[in-house]
């Protein structure tokens, strides 16, 4: 019975270690993505899609801060869920804004084409 208890404790420790490692991996990869995003701004700023990608990648870096928050401050489950959902909502706002902007550009192009035809 005692051995079973130790085994259970061992698995819990391994699980916790793995969980911490996965958060660490997300932090490292997210930081890398954030740095790369800042370096590519000169390329991305040229197109709407590029600007959308840039914004989303930046938001991905904000998620890194969220992961750090999970690791360091051990956020309560409801707080973490609210924060995560807030960031996902921001993600959609960015994309909708960019799609709207792209559609405006497309309609302007269409209007110019028709102007040339007449």
């Amino acid at each position: 019975m005692r051995n079973l208890h130790i085994l259970n404790l061992g698995w819990q420790t391994i699980d916790h270690l793995l969980y911490t490692l996965t958060i660490g991996f997300a932090i490292v990869a997210g930081t890398g993505a954030g740095i790369m995003t800042l370096l590519t701004w000169t390329i991305f700023k040229e197109t709407t899609f590029g600007r959308a990608l840039f914004s989303l990648c930046l938001l991905l870096s904000v998620f890194t801060v969220y992961h750090v928050g999970l690791l360091v401050f051990t956020l309560r489950s409801t707080d973490a869920d609210t924060l995560e959902s807030g960031m996902y909502a921001l993600l959609v706002v960015f994309v909708i804004f960019m799609v709207h902007h792209q559609r405006q550009i497309d309609s302007w192009r269409q209007w110019r084409r028709e102007l040339w035809r007449h």
């Binding site: 890398g32 990608l53 993600l91 792209q102 497309d106």
Partner: protein, 192 residues
């Protein structure tokens, strides 16, 4: 499988909407074709992050951070290509440092005024006399003359005529921060 609560359902819906929006933008942007290869990898990373994250939150929350990490890693891989091809070495230097001199490796025989003198040669890209260099740097002519002789003996500048100097390829490489201090330490054969 974890319970589908309001938060995970909301995250999944948001992730799917943003994923669809991203695919739409990728479809309509015709003039970014040349970058499409890396854009696809970056977009895949964002989709993994935006859609995969909430999906794993529902099915196996233990691995949600792994999914976030993989998404970010794909973004890094996708971004490597444009950075590798578009940003030149000087841009990197500008990004890393306000003052490119911080990236240079000065030899022991060099003094700070050497950088000022070489900068004049670099900006003019001409054959210059010590007097013109002194006029442009605010240093005395004798000082400039002395330093030019020292730099000439180490191959950083060369004398093309009596009292006329120009930057050598070694000097140019030093200014760009591409030469180590060891390469500048030995006097050149011409000076011996």
């Amino acid at each position: 499988m974890a319970a589908l609560n309001a938060f995970t359902a909301f995250d999944l819906a948001m992730g799917m909407i943003s994923g669809l929006g991203l695919l739409y933008l990728l479809y309509v942007e015709e003039y970014v074709l040349s970058y499409r290869r890396f854009l696809l990898v970056t977009t895949a990373g964002l989709l993994v992050f935006g859609v995969g994250g909430p999906l794993f939150d529902i099915f196996d929350p233990k691995y949600v951070h792994v999914v976030h990490g993989v998404g970010a890693l794909l973004v890094v891989l996708g971004m490597y290509d444009p950075i590798h091809h578009e940003l030149r070495r000087e841009d990197w230097a500008d990004l890393l440092s306000e003052n490119p001199a911080e990236l240079r490796h000065s030899a022991n025989w060099m003094v700070p005024m050497d950088d000022e003198i070489l900068a004049v040669f670099h900006s003019a890209d001409l054959v210059l006399t010590p007097m013109i260099v002194a006029y442009n740097t605010g240093l005395s002519r004798s000082e400039v003359n002395r330093r030019l002789l020292a730099m000439k003996s180490h191959g950083v500048v060369e004398r093309v005529d009596r009292g006329k100097y120009r930057l050598t390829p070694l000097g140019e490489q030093y200014l760009q921060g591409e030469r180590s201090a060891a390469a500048l330490a030995e006097p050149t054969d011409a000076a011996i």
